[in-house]
């Protein structure tokens, strides 16, 4: 295995470089996945039937907390990658742990939000609007849930193996995934919640 020391560890082998590139291809496809969900959402958002509309069930406080929590977690994982690049394993793991705790907090708020909606009579079967709302939020939430397991696995692996070209590569790719989820959330926050409450 040829290691190029002029590059950060996560890019240092040909395989690493290709892994990161491949993940960008995956993210490009993910953009399209969420685009189709947004397309359906915008098409169906006014089809509320006998159920509630967005402005009736959306609440600014939990949504704002979720947004701030996710933005902060995106910042802390960025700091984690920075710490990784300067070889500070302990600091990196701390930042990754903070990120995962924030992610868990986000998920907690989102689950609570879903429970509130269901209590208010907005279930997956209520109307076209509630169905696509829950599908879109749920797809994002499922990605975050998957990310929590993935991130936890990476933290364990780094604890065991230290910062190697492989583990740093996995961590960097995970950070790309996490930032991407943050970007998707910004669009949900802007064009589902804020637009719905405007």
């Amino acid at each position: 295995m040829k290691i190029d020391h002029s590059l950060p560890l996560e890019y240092s082998t040909k395989q690493n470089d290709q892994n990161i590139f491949g993940f960008w291809v995956f993210l490009a496809a993910e953009i399209m996945l969420f685009a189709t969900l947004f397309t359906s959402y915008f098409t169906l958002e006014h089809r509320v039937g006998n159920g509630p509309s967005g402005s009736e069930i959306f609440e600014i406080t939990p949504v704002l907390i979720e947004t701030l929590v996710l933005l902060t977690s995106s910042f802390t994982i960025g700091l984690g990658i920075h710490a990784m690049r300067i070889g500070k394993q302990k600091a990196m793991l701390t930042f990754f742990a903070i990120t995962l705790v924030l992610g868990l907090g986000f998920l907690g708020f989102e689950i609570d939000e879903f429970i509130t909606y269901i209590h208010e009579g907005a279930t997956l079967q209520t109307s076209a609007f509630t169905a696509i709302l829950m599908m879109t939020l749920g797809t994002h939430g499922a990605h975050v849930t998957f990310g929590l397991f993935w991130g936890a696995g990476i933290v364990m692996q780094i604890k065991k193996r230290g910062l190697t070209p492989e583990t740093t590569n996995k961590s960097f790719i995970f950070s790309l995934y996490w930032h991407f989820l943050d970007v998707v959330w910004i669009f949900i926050f802007s064009f589902i919640y804020l637009k719905g409450m405007m």
Binding site: D17, W24, T39, T72, G78, F191, L194
Partner: protein, 93 residues
Amino acid sequence: MSELFPRKQIMGFVFSLSLTAVALAVYFLHLSFAIGMFVLVVTAFAQALLQLVVFMHAGETKDKWIIYGKVYFMITVALVTILGTLLIFLWDM
């Protein structure tokens, strides 16, 4: 300690919080739909670009233009899908 908090990332975070605050204006101020949507489009895309450049390090390797090219192409396809569908189903054209 300070080496763990690079200026670029902190500025990025502050800027992303500011963009969120600006976007909130559409909720707290009673803006017209058109102005509100304009504010949301600008803040959301600025926020996405910020994440891409500052936090995702999209521009730091030799693959830079392929990565940007791919992402921008997918965003274009996404926008065509969304706006094209709205054009047919909602705007009655």
